[in-house]
Amino acid sequence: MHAKQLSRIAVQALIVLAVAGLLALLATTTASHLAQRGIRSGFDFLLEPAGFTLGESAIPLDAGDSTLLAFAAGLANTLRLALPGAALALGLGVLVGFGRLAEHPLVRGLARAFVNAFRNIPLLLQLLAWYFILTDLLPASDAALRLAPGVFLSKSGLALPWWGEAGFEIPEPAGFGIDGGARLTPEYLAMLIGLVIYTAAYIAEILRAAVEALPPGQRLAALAMGMTPRQTFRLVLLPQAWRAALPPVTSQLLNLFKNASLAVAIGYPDLVSVAGTSLNQTGRAIECLSIVIAVYLLLSLAGAAVSHRLERHVLRGGVA
């Protein structure tokens, strides 16, 4: 037994070494061939000025700032989209999932139509559709719709009172549109709406499947004990369904994060957009792509680790 274990560890170590060796060989050969062909390579460009700005950025970015900061701003924009997106998708997904299980035929039908429509149209098309619906429907920025004092909606987005360079600012019409406060651009809104609805459709289906997979006796027993259908659902069915639903739901939330990389199609400056621009300015294709790959891989792994812990917690008897 002991020897068997040892040999297993040895085999695994050998495989890891072989893979690492191959990767190292690939990296050094690529680097030397790039040098042979007079192609500059390396990550030194990250410290040079980016030379471009972003239309919207969670981190203030100037054209004179480093490319590294531009990448960070791109990542911050991705997270600014993915984190609220994941929370909203979860909420909407649970609601639609309830709808799929509802007694009322109209509610059930609507929920079913929602899932079928949004799950079966490619996400990119949905995003483009949301974007052009928003930019076509909204009023021009010099004729913004005033929803409430300091809240304006126009083609340049939703302007809200928020803390800015001059303290707490209330947006006001000025020049080409609305000045001051915070701005949720049509690009951001279209991405958020598209991602949330698309992911929610999947989450709803997962929840429905998880509840329907429970033994029918659970529901019947709860009802027999005099619980209302709502109590049955909330106190008996849902806690059990969660255990089955948690792994696929978290994987859908990670998908949302990865799908956020479609942002460049409708002009939202996310990490992939920044990498594409840097790639063009510097010509460092392999470097820029490997940064994007590494960031997505690391963040997805981190997300998976969190979800794993959550699963263990739930399996131990807690409720997520």
């Binding site: 062909r37 030379g51 080409f176 392999i286």
Partner: protein
Amino acid sequence: MFRIRTLAAATAALLATFVTPAHAGKTLDAIKAKGQLACGVSTGVIGFSAADSQGQWRGLDVDVCRALAAAVLGDPNKVRWVPLNSQQRFTAIQSGEVDILSRNTTWSLTRDAGLGLHFTAVTYYDGQGFLVAKKSKVTSAKQLKNAEICVQSGTTTERNLADWFRAQGIKVKPVVFEKFEPSIKAFFSGRCQAYTTDASALAFIRTKEAPNPDDYLVLPEIISKEPLGPAVRRGDDEWFAVVKWVVQALVEAEELGITQAKVDALKASPDPAIQRFLGVGEDLGKSLGLDREWAARAVKAGGNYGELFERNVGAGSPLKLPRGLNAQWNKGGLMYGLPLR
């Protein structure tokens, strides 16, 4: 999807660098052996390189490749067209997927010195400008303070935009799209106050894509120099010389009055410069590794530079661009064909 294609191109480049030794001085031989020129073009820029409704590639950049194929292989149709987006283009030329990158690409120091390629000649002098809606009452780019500006990613455009407005001390917000169609659709729907790209493309966008061209205005400011021209891979001086001189021959032909229609008849011309050009007298092709009629065939393929210009981007095209900087040097332009002698 561009990410997947870019990734594929990068992977291909990685594999290519991994398995094949660097080429040196072999491009011309390889092209002759294959009987085909691999020409990297755009995925669709009207006037420069775009496939028409019959799937035929047309444009100034396309005709440069045809002239080159005629000079090298004796047949302007022996070209394999490789459409490349702006992220793929440098990897494609670096890795040897294409023999020439003829794809409205700006010649700049970092690209010429740092990307493993050599620009050969300028085929079009362009510059970046702005398109605005007339009803915005903007008549100068300096009035675009705090404006949102729609732009397609993956060109020198974004950087010029940042540089120029920084120099003016004006803040603008770029809205960057990956693809051309969404970028102009967003602009025409009123999402942005201005659209920016090279002036040659702005003329086309205004006349062909605008709901009503008279509602839009190209601003007078040209904020950058964009010399566009074909590039080849580093490390093959012979091939570099062939591409460079084929382009020079097209420009020189215009100055000498050698047109597509007259090229055969002019072989009887007593002018020694024309005789040399057409290979009647001296053999200029030898030092390039070509035969004596290379330049004659290049012109016969689609005409001289002036004819290519008129047909693709000038008066005979939907773009109707004036010659401007691209006129011959003796007519107020910058096109100065180096002497073929």
